[in-house]
Symmetry: C2
Subunit: 335 residues, 2 copies
């Protein structure tokens, strides 16, 4: 994962007309057959997909029959793909889902953190209540792991561990959807405690292209892909939360595309005929959001959609409130 | 400020043994005669020094006679060099200083923001009181501008504007201390509303080398440098705040060196015989802190000082609380 040839600069942060900081990265657009439509930088080097790959990780929840067994609707499937904000709507849905399975917050092994939703965090603070694992931005994905394990008669405790069948299913579906041999790939531990397997951006993009265009896949896999894509497209608010890039983009796209963010500067998108994946080398969110908006714009799917304009010309303000700089795609990029 | 030849990778963020993200940058160590002792990356390209250059910006406060006139002690001088945390100790000292000059928070033109000190922010929040300009991390520097303008009989209103004598003095002292011709250099607006002039890292490092080793300068300039260095060394708590890198480093160094952070990944240090300046290309603080700790360690000034060890081997935790990665100097760097 070291870089011999530096990736190109994708995003500039300017101040007073000069470039103050810059963000390098790589990105790729592929079609469902794996043909590269556009590429920038090294897209073969393995990178940790982090939460960006949750849409693919949600497939076994449906394919196993667990979703049907536990009355998992599109809202819960959207939450299984989500890095949600821990707002009451997210927390209540995950809590009810766990309850239907005879489980609770204590069965989640993702740890806890203050919810990204500022109102929710302030409410907890005022009430003197610590955040629970339900507020963890990954609690929907973890509820999905629990559902699948429970349905298949597996031990639920320890479902985050590398040897647990739930995680072996993850490795399998990631490799299949990405068309990648992940044997021997670098493995780490994700923020929520599960194994994270490094894979090339090209493979991540292919997984997303197939998710949105599953015609060539097996009928069960294709049906699961359609369900996940549809759930994300219909419930943009549950995939992230109020005011966030993914929610704004998905809602504005009205089903034309879905996007998903991951920690350390990863982003993916899926749409008719295409999948997209990018990673900012330094992990900066301001850059990954700008880069994803730039690629979506480049692909023409933002035509008539203004909601992502703030990410194409981000405002840097001084404390007195003047506009003193911008966060923008590097000149000439993505083309 | 664009980069033809990419700067080297200075800092790695690892996960599970693989590099997940990396940070490029440039850095330089010079002696007081301007001779380069060590250099990494492009140190001639102009970069905005941001708050890292405050120690040099504090010189006119002393040289003008304003410090003597308004009973400005070492604590206030340390605050003039500070990006302080807005804790009660910082706020009270700046407020009292302004009062001695017949001025108040309303004369500060730096804008306001919630104080970085979490306790102070929570106290304001609980009391329902919005932060004032006194809480601005730059309020000490701005009090210094006001003191100098008032002492020299200049209009205090508008002291942040590019044409105001206070800002022209800034440009002059930066050029003199850095041995750089700043005519025609890129100029932007800093976060606190004053002009920020881009200068090469080599010039920033020279300014810091001279600050700590002013023997070759004019007697007045040398005396002012000694006073600023001494004030920072004696009041590390006022230069930043509880728990922060600069405060921990300066206090642990017991006068052997001073350091100063700036926004967007800038850092400088000054010590006997040397000045240091670095900038992380992407502006990340996690990387600039690690890089500064690495250079200080490389120079041998951390021998027997363990307080910066956490910056040389930074812990990446999962939400469940396991150590899953590290933030470290890139292997083999700085040498």
């Amino acid at each position: 994962m070291t870089d011999a040839i530096p990736n190109p600069v994708l995003v500039h942060v300017t101040r007073g007309g000069a470039v103050e900081s810059s963000h390098r990265g790589a990105g790729v657009v592929v079609d469902p057959a794996g043909r590269v439509v556009a590429t920038w930088g090294d897209v073969e080097r393995p990178v940790y997909p982090r939460s960006a790959i949750k849409p693919v990780q949600a497939l076994p929840l449906i394919e196993s029959g667990a979703a049907e067994r536990f009355s998992v609707g599109d809202a819960e499937i959207a939450l299984a793909t989500a890095s949600h904000s821990g707002a009451p709507e997210h927390v209540a849905l995950v809590a009810a889902w766990l309850e239907r399975m005879g489980l609770g917050a204590c069965d989640l092994e993702c740890g806890s953190h203050p919810p990204p939703d500022e109102n929710a965090a302030a409410d907890l603070d005022r009430a003197g209540v610590p955040p629970s694992a339900l507020h963890n931005t990954c609690s929907g994905k973890h509820a999905g792991f629990l559902a699948t394990a429970l349905h298949l008669g597996e031990e639920t405790a320890g479902y985050v561990k590398p040897g647990h069948p739930a995680q072996m299913r993850m490795a399998e579906v990631l490799g299949e959807m990405g068309g990648a041999d992940l044997e021997g790939a670098p493995v780490g531990t994700d923020g929520c405690g599960i194994p994270v397997i490094a894979m090339p951006l090209r493979a991540m993009a292919l997984g997303m292209a197939r998710l949105a265009n599953p015609d060539g896949l097996s009928p069960d896999r294709a049906a699961a892909c359609r369900r996940v894509y549809g759930a994300m497209a219909a419930h943009g608010r549950l995939v992230a939360g109020r005011g966030r890039f993914d929610t704004r983009a998905i809602e504005a796209g009205s089903g034309a595309f879905v996007v998903k963010t991951g920690a350390e500067g990863v982003y993916v998108a899926a749409m008719e005929g295409l999948g997209v994946a990018l990673k900012i080398d330094d992990g900066a969110k301001r850059a990954s959001e700008t880069a994803m908006a730039a690629i979506l714009s480049h692909l023409g799917v933002l035509d008539g959609i203004g909601v992502l304009d703030p990410y194409l010309d981000g405002v840097v303000l001084s404390r007195p409130g003047d506009r003193v700089g911008a966060v923008r795609p590097a000149p000439g990029w993505p083309g």
